[in-house]
């Protein structure tokens, strides 16, 4: 059964790259009874461990989401910003944004003759106040904000913000709840700063020094009108990544995940992504190298305020992850 209540809370929780405090605390609260040991490292990665004497396995899903950082508050109270993670200036006009303190704004743009020429520096945030004192008290250079989107679901799919990668966090939490009897020493890592270059995963990979690493993250799909050429589709099951810009999945890890899926009747599909990367990209080159792979959740409309995934795919990902932990 899909735990909508948990997913909604994960999606709604504030946590752009570098500002993961709220989401970290929320996940910490969720898992504190489940792990043998929970630590936070210098960059803010949350690491939950299920102790064992066997193989060291690292599972990683990133807590951070894309957002905006305020770079300047002008005389009239308009906020200028830069993107945190992969956002396109052409797709932002009119979006509602929310800050950690709950205050909101809407993205506006300067009057431009050629609307196609819009860049981040031509956009600004209107925080719906003409009171200068209110603005300078509440908004500071360095503050970040994220999309404001209502969580919505149908019988089979969900629309929400930050499915990338709160759905991965959801899968990690659900897998941790159902952690199997095993000799393996398993680390569930909720990483920081993936959206700006998988920075958290680099240090987590170094400190844990795993024998096997699997990242859980969203991937694009090829099932939309005039979409990209790609075999992955919603409802096709857990996607076993073969390659993206950051990793060529270790052949033994590909075989391991495939065999586990076959043996446990888990619906799966293979994924070849021509762009993007995940935490596994940083982890697999850590120290002497780590055989690594990725279990992906097919997700449409990535890096927008409304990302769409299928709940049954999520169930298959959880099953595959639990099987991999064993």
């Amino acid at each position: 059964m899909f735990n909508s209540e948990l997913m909604k809370r994960l999606s709604d929780c504030f946590g752009p790259s570098g500002r993961e405090k709220s989401i970290r605390e929320m996940i910490m609260d969720e898992i504190k009874e489940l792990a043998d040991e929970i630590t936070t490292d210098p960059l803010g990665n949350l690491i939950a461990r299920k102790k064992g004497n066997g193989k060291k396995i690292l599972f990683s899903a990133h807590m951070d989401q894309i957002g905006l950082i305020i770079t300047h508050v002008d005389e009239k109270g308009f906020l200028r910003f830069a993107n945190v993670g992969g956002l396109n200036a052409k797709e932002l006009l009119g979006l509602r944004m929310v800050f950690d303190n709950g205050l909101e704004g809407v993205i506006c743009q300067e009057e431009l003759k050629d609307k196609e020429k819009v860049t981040m520096s031509k956009l600004f945030l209107d925080v719906a106040s003409t009171d200068k004192e209110f603005i300078t008290r509440n908004f500071h250079v360095g503050d970040m904000c994220v999309f404001k989107t209502e969580y919505y679901e149908t019988d089979d799919c969900v629309i929400c913000k930050a499915a990338d990668d709160r759905i991965g966090c959801y899968i990690l939490i659900e897998a941790l709840k159902a952690h199997p009897e095993t000799e393996n020493d398993v680390y569930y890592v909720f990483s920081v700063q993936e959206e700006v270059g998988c920075r958290g995963a680099k240090t987590a990979g170094y400190s844990i020094e795993p024998d096997l690493a699997i990242a859980i993250d969203v991937t694009a799909t090829g099932d939309t009108p005039d979409g990209i050429k790609m075999d992955v589709k919603l409802g096709g099951g857990a996607a076993i990544k073969l390659m993206d810009k950051s990793i060529i999945t270790h052949i033994e890890v590909k075989d391991l995940l495939t065999n586990l899926a076959e043996k446990n009747n888990i619906k799966y599909q293979y994924e070849v992504l021509e762009f993007g990367g995940t935490d596994a990209g940083q982890i697999h080159t850590s120290r002497e190298g780590v055989p690594s792979g990725v279990i992906s959740i097919p997700t449409r409309n990535l890096h927008t305020s409304g990302e769409i995934f299928n709940k049954s795919d999520v169930e298959e990902c959880i099953k595959l992850l639990i099987a991999a932990a064993k």
Binding site: G18, L43, N45, A82, S121, G142
Partner: protein, 337 residues
Amino acid sequence: MFLNELTELSGVSGCEYEVRNYIKGKLSEIGCEFYVDKLGNIIAHNKGKKNKNIMVSAHMDEVGLIVSCIDSDGFIKFKAVGGIDQRVLNSKVVLVGENNIPGVIGSKAVHLMSDKERGNSIPIDKLYIDIGTSTKEETEKLVNVGDYAAFKSDYVEFGDNMIKAKALDNRAGCSIILELLSQKLDADFYGVFTVMEEVGLRGAEAAAYQLEPDLGIVLEGTVCADMPEVDEHESSTLIGKGAVLSLMDNATIYDIDVVRSVAKIAEDNNITYQYRRSTSGANDAGVIHKIKNGAKVAAISVPCRYIHSSISVASKNDLYSALKLTKQVIIENQKGE
């Protein structure tokens, strides 16, 4: 401070020895313990009261040129080292090779250019260095392929406490660390002078790997764009408005608790500071914070106009603010919890 001497030395990325030798000499005079690592970073240690492992770093290298070929008439063709502002190369004076052979960057005369050529900056492959020779053989006696060329530009103080010099990015940072080391603070820190920042933060990665800092403080000369045609929100930093604190750039999101604590130290000590408004660019913090288990980092910079060209301009007041702030941050962090 040491800035006037530091900015008149050549130190293009990968060829930092003039700067390194100068700093080594000063460290010996000061009586500060140091070593040079395999990549050429200088790692100096100021021993004192210690609560955490602090690494204060600044890069020694500057953007410049490397000789790629000598043509049949003795002209020197070159490539850029680091993100140089290629628009401004023409007719600049450079010093080439170990013997600092003076040369002038030249191109086809403006009189001979087509209208189209006149409207554009001259691409680097149409430029050459003229060292006053007229044959390949003559040039080869003085210069080899692989030699570096650095800008020549005198240190001049002018206006209201302003400095004009080359390579303020990042001799400004180097001078601050030297000054801090010479003050013999009773607060422990490593003063690190790194190599090859301008070509990808290469020296700092090796240095941080050796030191495993808890806190990295990166000192920089950073972009300042307070010119008339630049909108206020795009100006990045303002000259004369104090030490610059970074929040985010292309390589680092600075730990917000560390940033705000540095800001508070500035406020408590009446040190003028400003936030960096741009998120473009990168500095050594980008590799330091990701080393091994990870480290907290802060970047404190001096606004510099016209960087990555042959001339830069900074304010002595800003330099002093950055020095005072760095000093206080080290002292506060070594006080203990």
